[in-house]
């Protein structure tokens, strides 16, 4: 066995050399740092010595650096050279600048990142005689950082996209909720309407009988019997009240027999005002008209739209004391630009759409904020018993909906309510061609 053991000393010289070279190459390949020394005389760099590890980091040998004293500078990527020179200037002034990270171009043409840490060497008098530089190859770290930065940027972009999506989802959810409420409201109106249509005809005939009966009894009432006359009068009022309710219910159910025509909304406002003139006079209320003379036309069932105005005027009149002011305004514009309404109130119209708006404003006491969302509900009323049926605004909403329009109600300072009806304006080109016919 001993004879078989070959010691290092016994190995052939060329084999030992080969192994040493091989180990050196492996070591070199694993080296990522090297040291260099810059000799300084009178504050100027006079020579640079690069340690053997420089080949692993830069691709150039110490000899190449020694032969070409400007090689270290050319090796630096052009954009980073000013920073490197600045670092050198600092240390030549005897300062200790912080480590600098910059790029170099490896002998093989690839880009590498290095971290250059300088340490001054001084003599007993404190004069700079040289400085050592420790160069670390930080390419992998930098690449990892860049990957991290890119990933972070992507994450931020994703985060922004997620936030946008979240906002869109929130918006969609809110819209869904509002649509659901509208559907509930529409279903409620629909069921009330269907019920009304079923019973209205049956109720109207008995009302007709009572009314005709009263028409017969009144002229035949014995003279002087004021009690009887008063009873008959109360009965007539009761018939009229019942009829008003039935009429409101029928208006809620009537949605198939629209006669849509291109109309002037101002004309509908004027006709409706004429119809409530007696109530305006009786209520000692003044009427202010602010009607846009150049209002685009709208496609409506004029009878239904006049019903809307009559209902709104009656509400306004009933809300005001003597001396009140009923203001009716019409104007045209683009929704969201010239005319601002909440998104919910705008629907189904879209922002930017060309619309015609009519506003009916009173100087009453307004509506309690808690009651505002309920005012379009059938039979919701804040009026005394016998004054309102609670159907006026339900009918208004129903008619606005069936015209594809929007209705909004708001309190206004110092007191009162403004109701805004918004309808889609007829396209101008259609009007021009219609006029040409």
């Amino acid at each position: 066995m001993n004879a078989e053991i070959i010691t290092q000393a016994e190995r052939p010289a060329d084999e030992a050399t080969l192994e040493s070279e091989h180990r050196y190459k492996r070591l070199l390949a694993s080296v990522t740092d090297y040291v260099y020394t810059v000799m300084v005389e009178a504050g100027r760099a006079v020579a640079t010595l690069h340690g053997p590890g420089c080949e692993a980091v830069t691709g150039y040998t110490s000899e190449e650096f020694e032969t070409d004293q400007a090689l270290w500078y050319r090796m630096i990527r052009e954009e980073d050279r000013p920073a490197v020179l600045e670092q050198a200037e600092h240390i030549l002034r005897g300062e200790e600048p912080p480590p600098l990270e910059h790029r170099i171009i490896h002998k093989n043409g690839t880009e590498r990142w290095i971290r250059n840490t300088t340490v001054p060497r001084k003599d007993a008098q404190g004069r700079l005689t040289a400085y050592d530089g420790l160069v670390y190859d930080i390419t992998e770290r930098k690449r990892a950082e860049e990957r991290l930065t890119r990933a972070h940027a992507r994450l931020k972009a994703n985060d922004a996209a997620l936030k946008r999506t979240l906002e869109q989802l929130k918006g969609a959810n809110q819209q869904l909720k509002e649509t659901q409420l509208e559907l509930i409201q529409a279903a409620r109106l629909e069921s009330v309407g269907a019920l009304a249509a079923g019973v209205a005809h049956e109720v109207k005939n008995p009302l007709q009988t009572i009314l005709m009966g009263l028409d017969y009894l009144v002229p035949n009432c014995p003279a002087g019997n004021e009690n009887l006359r008063s009873v008959l009068s109360d009965m007539r009022d009761a018939v009229m009240r019942a009829n008003t309710i039935i009429r409101g219910l029928l208006q809620l159910s009537a949605h198939t027999d629209f006669e849509m025509k291109t109309e002037d909304l101002n004309a509908a406002v004027r006709r409706a005002l004429r119809l409530v003139h007696a109530q305006v006079v009786a209520g000692k209320v003044s009427v202010v008209r602010k009607l846009d003379a150049h209002l685009p036309r709208v496609r409506v069932d004029v009878g239904k739209i006049e019903q809307v105005f009559i209902n709104l005027f009656m509400n306004a009149l009933q809300a005001m004391s003597p001396g009140g002011v009923l203001t009716v305004t019409t104007r045209a514009g683009r929704l969201g630009e010239d005319l601002t309404l909440s998104d919910a109130a705008c629907r189904p119209l879209k922002r930017g759409e060309r619309v015609v708006a009519a506003q009916v404003q009173d100087t009453g006491t307004g509506i309690a904020p808690a009651n505002l969302p309920k005012v379009f509900d059938p039979f919701f009323t804040t009026k005394p018993v016998g004054v309102g049926t609670g159907l006026g605004l339900s009918v208004v909403k129903k008619i606005a909906d069936l015209h594809g329009g929007a209705i909004d109600i708001q309190n206004v300072a110092p007191g009162g309510v403004v109701v805004t009806l918004v309808l889609r304006a007829e396209p101008e080109e259609m009007l021009s061609s219609a006029k040409g016919v």
Partner: protein
Amino acid sequence: MKPMNTEKKRILVVDDEASITRLLKLNLEQTNEYEVRPENDALAAVAAAEEFKPHLILLDVMMPGLDGGELAARFQANPKLKSVPIVFLTAAATKGEVYARGGKVGGLPFLAKPVELSEVVACLKRLLSG
């Protein structure tokens, strides 16, 4: 011989509600200007009209057996009755609709129930004045 303007106008009222036809008769005849024949059976209305020779027919719309629209068409198709004005008296419409449609449905005037006597009389006077 009575002067023409004192002749009572004959009104045929066709409505399945007997109370309505009875009260219309009482009210209109009380004015001494009209003679009213009530008819509660729509199917018998054409024969009643041929016999009564009305100046005007007040016609309910929703009736069992035959609706007012169909009955109006039969009156208008009858050579003896085609020139007789017809006014619908209906619970199927509201006053707003009467107004919105210029008071006419299918070219015929109509009154929305419940209607007051004064409105009925005004309508009759307007249509019978010619």
